[in-house]
Subunit: 112 residues, 4 copies
């Protein structure tokens, strides 16, 4: 993930504009945070924002995530699946079911 086609299109876009020089991992991390906040802005005063605007802002976040993954040489599917494994261990079904307690407190609460 994403598709080879999407990755290639994003690379070509950056290359044509000679923007790779600006895409340091740090700048991309800032950009992800900035776009994530623009996505949040859709929900600043309402919980039912315009769907088109939400899709555009979500696309911006993911676009920079793809750029950063390329820079780091990692595959997004792979790191998402790896993180899911470790999260699943932190939040075992029997303890986490139906509640959003942070894992550090989850175990303490239950005397585990």
């Amino acid at each position: 993930m994403p598709s080879e086609h999407t990755i290639a299109a994003l690379r070509a876009f950056v290359e044509a504009r000679d923007w790779d020089q600006f895409h340091s991992p740090e700048n991309l991390a800032k950009s992800i945070a900035i776009e994530a906040s623009e996505l949040l802005e859709c929900y600043q005063w309402t919980s039912t924002p315009d769907q088109t605007r939400v899709e555009e802002e979500l696309a911006d976040v993911v676009t920079y995530c793809i750029h950063l993954a390329n820079k780091l040489g990692v595959d997004l599917d792979e790191i998402v699946m790896r993180k899911l494994d470790s999260t699943a261990k932190k939040y075992p079904v029997e303890l986490a079911k139906g509640r959003m307690t942070k894992y550090t407190e989850l175990h303490a609460e239950d005397g585990v």
Copy 2:
């Protein structure tokens, strides 16, 4: 994007924990912003952070992006490609090449 396997695994994870009730689009948008900031935190005082930590934080951002895309019923590849088209128009190669000027100023600067 992401792969069917990843989407299925994330859905099963949420379902097993009965967490769908917490995953309103608004809460997911907040979560994306929060995780994006944790990714940024890797770069708070250094431009060369630990790669493993960066991968984990990036994975968290993308995980919530996938959850939100599912909620909205959109495909990430599709919205990324659609946004790329509109960004390409805002930043034509001949004007944007080699510089990071916001598109609103890009055209003004060049008298376009």
Copy 3:
């Protein structure tokens, strides 16, 4: 704002640890965003978080704002009041009363 006492205490804290070298405006801007997200995290899954935790995270945001204001050589009261003047013009009472419409759409909507 803040009080002379607070400003002096923050300066002494940084000086004693020789941390001024890390406090570039850019690093402080990142830090403000990171701490703002930790504040947001209090509200990630609930609208009634623990007050003590909220106070601590808000304090972190403001602390870095004070550091940045010092770096920039500006007084927070002054820039807040100046910005309030310009915001008041963008959101005239008769148009903005009782609704959170962005000022760019506020005027369009009303045919102003």
Copy 4:
């Protein structure tokens, strides 16, 4: 902090527009994060942005911090000073001098 004058002006601004209904602590926390990201955006591609723009974005962050402090019934100077006390304990001068190591690792590293 801030001055009584600033607090009164912000309150009057909100009251005149009947915006208090939108200023839930959660919405204010989102707003602080959103404005903090706009401040960060000044530094997205450069470390020397326009000072006026930086001042305006910083003012927005602090404005929402003042609104939230009012909502919570806390004094910003007080919570900043209280947090400084606890941070000073986490980062003792002899361990933290000249380096930005997180306090959890600071002590471990030094065998304390």
